[in-house]
Symmetry: C2
Subunit: 377 residues, 2 copies
């Protein structure tokens, strides 16, 4: 069972319009109303943040408590709400949002596409996980319509993006903060769980604006996240050694414990699978991203979100963006309905899902993040 | 008088340790306690955000009310707290932080320093205000010590930054939000006021990391802001036509009203003036930055901060960063105590202040933002 006792992801739901959102845990096709089941008002504050701020010991104790109640306490059924009766919301208030660039294949593919005569990777890429800050205020929950952005696509050229793309990513949600000037400790003491991220990208806007200060309006119109935050403990069977790195990273980036993750993402365009990116092939692991992000003393806040960057594997059907899948539009995808796609068209729906191995051959589902493209205004 | 009835900037203060910070308005050497004077609990919420969210009509009415009370009501003196008895705090909760790059001289100087054989400006620079997102969680109030960041300064090289710098900037604080997919309306309907910004920069970290996704750890360790938010209405006498632009910007960047600002910044290093950057020479005006930032439908939140980028004028003693003032360290500054500086040393204090013309020959002070460099940990 994909949503059993070994999964139990956290989300935020309402049953009625206007109600303050409540924290729940998904169990099968139901949501366990935690504020009611555990008599704890931290789960009735509208987001996961207050609970996440309690820290790793509280996270573990709460998970064990929920597992025990669901296994042993028949009375708990009174607090199980059918999924069909709830609406899911943004599960946490996003503090800062950072996007990394951790797939060797993705970074190499983009280098080959944009700079065919140069080395595909920039000199810094194998030395540090390259990243940048994105717009936290436009992180939206799965299902939010994505209005095609307009902008400059070159000198004197303005209009709706003609090269709207997706990026299939994994996001990490920070629970335990640090102070200014400190470095983060162990990954599992700071990071509460993971979410799926679609980092929508307007390639034409991005290509014109990004030199020398990086992506801005080509990304800031929307970033979608999945409704269920999978706690790290649910991913214990998915942990693998990170990919071998050459050169060996500097000391502060040394991996102390295995935080590679054997997740398989799936990207569907209008229902049809177009890619299955393997997360385990990522070059930089999330513990390394966290160490890097804070090595300069930058503080963490509860609700910080950092994402892996596009997950692309070594095979063509494992690429996590259309610009790679269609090789910058030169090799359009053919869909089952006979149409072709270089980039997204109005009305297209993109859904990214993921699974991980669980205990005893079970499958842990991470759910999905979905969005439909609306015409430019 | 620099802090008279035509100025009246907003800040957030406490009189005692542990007290919830309150919003006040500076008047001379006093702070008017607004929650008490106006019997309005919006000023006792710990930050300016709730008041800013009320919108431009409320901002104007409140300012008039305060001016009337200070002029006509002797009883108001009961709510004036001596500045010496208060501690100032971060005046608003920062939602997203965006940093632009709007000085033609600054962008040109950096181009000449880093790419002496190329055109100093990138092809996009005169077509749009180049900008990127910074870390909102490390925006700190004036007076916060700045711990020298450590990081990678090249392949295999790690250590404290040896090229710690400042950037003297003007910041704009958003009060009125917009929805996802909308564009911002008039500048003065969204922006509540201005603050002084020191965008501390580790040039060696930044130079190694920033290709291709922009600055990250070279900036994210700290950004300091001044305690007093000057409302736009206090700057009415400072408004000037923006600098002439060639080529003429696209329609969405057209200036409808003059929002050039005749402010003069002053940068002091250990008390000694090292630069007086003129804000009126900036190429892109703040109304253009706002229009650009939202043209793709990115929403605004109350508390969004966007900064101008380093303010540098055409004269050598008008440059707003040490990398320009010392031409990348090749022409060190000589200080009055006989020492020289290429970049900042531990113990150095940098203070940025600014003034603007007020009505009838008055001077509007914007106060100052200050920080002292502490050794790396």
């Amino acid at each position: 069972m994909s949503w059993g006792l070994s999964n139990l992801p956290y989300g935020v739901f309402t049953r009625r319009e206007g109600e303050t959102p409540r924290v729940g845990v998904r169990y099968g096709d139901h949501v366990l109303d935690l504020a009611a089941a555990l008599h704890d008002e931290v789960f009735a504050t509208g987001s996961l943040n207050a609970f996440m701020a309690r820290g790793v010991t509280a996270w573990r104790e709460t998970r064990t408590l929920i597992q025990n109640r669901l296994s042993d306490d028949p009375a708990v059924t009174a607090y199980l709400v059918p999924l069909a009766e709830v609406r899911m919301h943004l599960p946490f208030e996003v503090a800062d949002y950072v996007d990394f660039y951790c797939s060797l294949e993705h970074a190499s593919n983009l280098g080959r596409i944009f700079r065919p005569d140069d080395e595909p990777l920039k000199p810094n890429w194998r030395h540090l996980p390259v990243g940048y800050h994105g717009r936290a205020g436009t992180v939206v929950p799965s299902g939010t319509p994505i209005v095609r952005p307009s902008g400059q696509r070159g000198a004197g050229t303005f209009g709706p993006s003609a090269r709207l793309d997706i990026e299939a990513e994994l996001g990490f949600v920070v629970g335990t903060p640090t102070g200014l000037g400190e470095r983060a400790g162990r990954f599992e003491d700071h990071v509460f769980g993971v979410t799926l991220v679609n980092d929508w990208s307007a390639r034409d806007i991005q290509a014109w604006e990004y030199v020398p200060l990086g992506p801005f309006l080509g990304k800031s119109f929307a970033t979608s996240v999945s409704p269920w935050i999978t706690p790290l403990e649910a991913l214990s069977e998915a942990r693998v050694a990170g990919r071998e790195q050459d050169p060996e990273p500097l000391g502060y980036l040394r991996r102390e414990r295995p935080w590679g993750l054997d997740l398989t993402l799936e990207v569907r365009l209008n229902g049809e699978v177009v890619s299955r990116p393997p997360y385990r092939e990522m070059y930089w692991t999330p513990d390394q991203m966290l160490a890097h992000m804070t090595v300069n003393g930058a503080s963490l806040r509860t609700g910080d979100l950092y994402a892996s960057g596009t997950v692309s594997g070594s095979e063509p059907d494992q690429r996590g963006s259309l610009i790679e899948l269609t090789w910058n539009g030169t090799e359009p995808i053919k869909l089952a309905d006979g149409s072709v796609r270089s980039f997204l068209e109005d009305g297209d729906t993109v859904t990214i899902s993921a699974t991980a191995p669980g205990p005893g051959g079970e499958v842990i589902s991470l759910g999905e993040v979905s969005g439909t493209v609306r015409p430019a205004r």
